[in-house]
């Protein structure tokens, strides 16, 4: 019989005054398997711990049960203590006789009786405890940052500055994201490009950063510290190793297609740079519009390229890389309001544009060189209506959530209109104005004072009358219907998760909420971690965000990743699921239960019980790096082939039995 030592703590008078600690120790001494029992004033104190260590030596104890406060309080203390002894630190059980006994019961006798029961249960479990060893896993000292918007740029720079390698992945041909499209940033109105392009250049030049543009994640394997990611480098038909970005090809390309960067407000060529300040500053060919790639005719760019960079035979390439940490910074996309709002014309009216289109219109490097000209006829608008909450706060047609940045974007746009078009009238339709941010309310206030007319009411419909667009709604403060005859209408549209982010989260095993945003490990206390160890999040992929919040979160996320990469190896809890392969029949019932995708079926060699022939059969395997030890899988296994170390089936059954034996 294994020798168990039981130590009953008085906790000063906390426990001792509410129940008979001596009687508990005495009863423990009589339990089968118990070789020694003692009580002491403060077991957690230095002398208390020494008392236990001495008893282990003196009585040759093999396991320890401590009846004291909650294990949530001192389990780690006593585990550390056992590390100094001959006993494995997992051969320890704690009977919670303080929080769940002494403090909650008034009857001395009954409390004592309960304490004895709790000790008996703990001893029964302790007898089945096994020595466990915390595993250490090595950590690959490289981080992958997915998404090259301002969040990804900031995170990659922070990680690289801390001395770790970072790979920044962007599916577009240039980093920069939405911030590169913006004209000015609220509330300071500094030029967006002026503050973001230096960071983009830093990324391109940083020795610790590898920039992969036109690239996507194809597959993810592994777990915290040890991810293997397959990256698809999409064919771009231009050899960037030798291209100098001279631009000769772009000038000669005969194709004109809509510029996505300018939100369809201008044309670009088939071989193109995303925008003038693109990083890398080299062109790519868009296979969907290139004549040569579509029907083999043309080839002008190849002819004019002085360095022979053009390669029409380019193909997607798959690269496998190892990472210790991953940061998701996939950002957002503006809602496709055309599909949601028939009453706003569903995209039929050229002069109903979204906020991002307005950013391009007002931007000096945009299609109109910064002149606000309405798309239909190029005239400067005299009356402009700005409509907020398009797709936001609209559970029926869009999303229930508030998109957070639009109130300020609307104020900024109103300001820019008044500023650039003196004499114009600007009406801002709103439901609420939300400006919680440093300097935000002041900015909104100034915009109002400058003459932007705020009308409280959601526009009911927009229709065309002659040359103008009539925005019909209610001024809810007046209680009267209003019809604003506008020359230009700007819709401040909702933010939605970036397209494809759902699939990426699936590859990573991260959860997303009903709207598709990444779910944090804890909304308040672990806001930049995901539920998957080693995968962090930054920016609007977690929910609508403005630039300051995005950058702050990116740095926080980078700090988490740096903390992980600073370690050479990390310990994982040994209390995880374990499979007895001999019992496992490979039915796969456990797999779908696991929230961490830690269980996979694998083939192992075996013998056919009938013929004795060598065969392969399926069994479940637990990935120790992914398993978090919840044990939900164990219930799905009818055989009991999968069990949870530290909380094995037989340990819990022994606890149950002990109560009635």
């Amino acid at each position: 019989m294994s020798k168990v030592g039981v130590f009953v703590c008085h906790c000063g008078t906390n426990i001792a005054s509410a129940l008979d600690v001596f009687k508990v120790a005495e009863a423990a001494r009589a339990l089968p398997g118990v070789a020694h029992a003692a009580e002491y004033k403060y077991m957690c104190s230095e002398p208390g711990q020494q008392l236990i260590l001495d008893a282990i030596n003196e009585h040759g104890l093999k396991r320890v049960v401590i009846a004291s406060c909650s294990p949530r309080m001192h389990e780690t203390t006593f585990r550390k203590m056992l590390k100094k002894s001959k006993i494995n630190e997992y051969l320890l059980e704690i009977a919670n006789i303080r929080e769940q006994d002494a403090w909650v019961h008034a009857d001395f006798e009954k409390a004592t009786e309960k304490a004895i029961d709790l000790v008996r249960m703990a001893v029964a479990k302790a007898l089945k405890d096994e020595p466990l060893k915390a595993q250490t896993i090595p950590i690959t000292k490289r981080a992958l940052v997915i998404g090259g918007g301002i969040a990804g740029i900031q995170a990659a720079l922070d990680i690289a500055d801390a001395g770790h390698e970072a790979v920044l992945l962007e599916r577009e041909p240039s980093i920069g994201g939405h911030m590169a499209m913006l004209d000015k940033t609220f509330p300071t109105l500094d030029c967006s490009a002026c503050i973001s392009t230096p960071k983009m250049v830093d990324v391109g030049a940083h020795p610790n950063i590898t920039l992969l543009t036109s690239a996507e994640v194809d597959a993810v394997k592994g777990y915290i510290g040890n991810f293997t990611v397959t990256i698809r480098k999409k064919a771009n038909y231009v050899n960037h190793d030798i291209c100098t970005g001279c631009g000769a090809c772009e000038q000669k390309c005969p194709v004109k297609t809509d510029s996505a960067f300018n939100r369809g407000l201008s044309k670009r060529t088939a071989i193109y740079k995303l925008f003038p300040q693109a990083v890398p500053s080299k062109p790519v060919i868009d296979a969907e519009s290139c004549l040569k790639l579509k029907n083999g005719k043309c080839g002008v760019c190849e002819k004019v390229c002085p360095l022979g960079c053009i390669d029409y035979g380019d193909e997607d390439r798959l690269v496998e890389m190892d990472f210790g940490a991953i940061i998701v910074a996939t950002g957002y996309r503006p809602a496709k309001w055309q599909r949601m709002y028939d009453e706003y014309g569903a995209g039929r009216y050229a002069d109903v544009i979204d906020g991002l289109q307005f950013e391009r219109l007002v931007n000096a490097s945009g299609p109109t060189e910064g002149h606000i000209a309405r798309p239909s006829d190029g005239k400067a608008p005299k009356t402009v209506a700005i409509i907020k909450c398009v797709g936001s706060r609209d559970p029926k047609k869009g999303h229930a959530y508030c998109s957070r940045a639009c109130c300020m974007a609307a104020a900024k746009h109103a300001h820019q209109l008044i500023d650039k078009l003196p004499g114009s009238r600007v009406f801002v339709f709103y439901i609420d104005v939300r400006t919680p941010g440093k300097g935000y309310e002041e900015f909104y206030d100034q915009t109002r004072k400058d003459g932007a007319v705020y009308v409280r009411g959601r526009v009911s419909r927009i229709y065309k009358e002659g040359d103008t667009l009539v925005c019909q709604g209610e001024d809810t403060l007046l209680g009267k219907q209003v019809r604003v005859h506008a020359d230009l209408v700007i819709l401040e549209t909702a933010m939605e998760p970036s397209p494809g982010s759902g699939a990426l989260l699936g590859l990573l095993g991260c959860a997303k909420d009903a709207d598709g945003w990444v779910t944090e490990a804890h909304p308040k206390l672990r806001p930049v971690e995901t539920q998957v160890g080693g995968v962090f999040l930054a920016g609007a992929c977690q929910g609508p965000k403005d630039i300051p919040d995005t950058v702050a979160q990116a740095s926080a996320s980078a700090a988490k990743a740096i903390g992980l990469l600073n370690k050479d190896e990390m310990e994982t809890s040994p209390m995880i699921a374990k499979i007895e392969e001999d019992k496992c029949s490979g039915c796969g019932a456990c797999g779908p239960i696991c929230p961490y995708k830690a269980i996979a079926l694998e083939k192992i060699p075996a013998r056919d019980p009938g013929t004795g022939k060598k065969i392969e059969r399926l069994v479940a395997r637990v990935n120790a790096g992914l398993c978090q030890g919840c044990g939900a899988c164990t219930v799905a296994c009818r055989t009991g082939a999968i069990d949870l170390l530290g909380f094995r089936n037989n340990q819990i059954l022994e606890e149950v039995d002990a109560l009635w034996l």
């Binding site: 028939d342 569903a346 229709y463 065309k464 009358e465 002659g466 009539v470």
Partner: protein, 318 residues
């Protein structure tokens, strides 16, 4: 030949005479057989359900039950948006709610299971086969005829009853009209309520509704408004004179005795003709003057048709 059980609606025999004649002509030409529901009664329009929710369901349910008994395999079609709304609602509610079905069956004294669909003319005209037949039956082609297609609110709303996908900018009628060479205009009042329901009991309040529709159609360059409902048509047409007079009075500040409208037709420069979509189709299919009642329109349509078809062609019609 496609058959439908047909609910004509009360207006079909009086104010909507010209549309009714056109309907018969057009459906005859495109191989659609409308069998009139035996002894049908009024659907109750706005008044019945305003007074009593039970009556609002029972009145339309009676002819539907009759159609279901006589022609269980036929869907029901009606040419009036108001009738359509009432019939469709009754059909929907009887289907969706057992207790409503119980009530309706008790009141009408017949079984009614709402097995078939209730459709409007636009539904059956947009059927691909019907559309092909329309194309084949067209003999004349309009030129320079800008048409504002007016669907009316009740042909599309409420969506959960009508199943209409686009309630703001439906296109079915525009597409049908375009087959004749007419050019549908982009305008903003396709499904705005014209207020027909309250033209009697709240005339003062309801009349501006039609006015706004007329104004927008003109502002968007339309030569004609096309309708898919006799109520809408009558409402947009009959009181145009009064509306234009009031608008002029407001502009000039000079009042005129209302009953003068009786003798003075609306100013042709300001008035806009209103045709039912089937009238447009009938003319394009070569219907002669005797087959239609184009002269019955409050706003004369002669100039419009002459302009769009050319003199000789139009003589045969008018």
């Amino acid at each position: 030949m496609k058959r439908y059980a047909y609910f004509p609606g009360c207006a079909s025999e009086s104010t909507a005479k010209s549309a009714t004649l056109a309907n018969e002509f057009v459906f005859g030409r495109i191989g659609i057989d409308l069998v009139e529901i035996e002894d049908w009664n009024c659907c109750g329009a706005t008044s019945a359900h305003t007074l009593s929710s039970a009556l609002g369901l029972a009145l339309p349910a009676r002819p539907l039950a009759r159609a279901e008994a006589d022609w269980p395999e036929l869907d029901v079609v009606t040419g009036c948006a108001s009738c359509y709304a009432r019939l469709k609602l009754a059909n929907h509610r009887v289907r969706a709610d057992k207790s409503e079905r119980y009530m309706v069956e008790k009141i009408i004294g017949k079984p009614y299971e709402a097995k078939r669909e209730v459709l409007n003319f636009l539904d059956i005209l947009s059927d691909p086969a019907a559309r092909a037949n329309i194309g084949a039956a067209l003999l004349r082609r309009f030129k320079n005829l800008k048409a504002a297609c007016y669907y009316g609110c009740l042909n599309v709303r409420p969506a959960e009853i009508t199943g209409a996908e686009n309630r703001e900018n439906p296109m079915a009628m525009d597409e049908i009209a375009a087959l004749t060479g007419a050019e549908p205009v982009e305008w903003g009042f396709k499904t705005e309520c014209c207020g027909a329901a309250h033209q009697n009991d709240a005339a003062l309040e309801a009349r501006p509704l039609a006015g706004r529709i007329l104004d927008n159609a003109r502002a968007c360059g339309a030569d004609v408004i096309l309708t898919a409902c006799p109520m809408c048509q009558l409402n947009l047409e009959m009181r145009q004179g009064e509306y234009i007079r009031k608008r002029e009075e407001k502009r000039t500040g000079k009042a005129r005795f209302p009953l003068l409208d009786m003798v003075l037709p609306p100013d042709p420069e300001q008035a806009i003709p209103v045709l039912s979509i089937t009238e447009l189709l009938a003319v394009a299919m070569g219907a002669g003057g005797r087959r239609l009642a184009l002269d019955a329109h409050f706003v004369p349509v002669g100039r419009l048709i002459a302009g769009a078809l050319g003199g000789r062609e139009s003589e045969a019609i008018l």
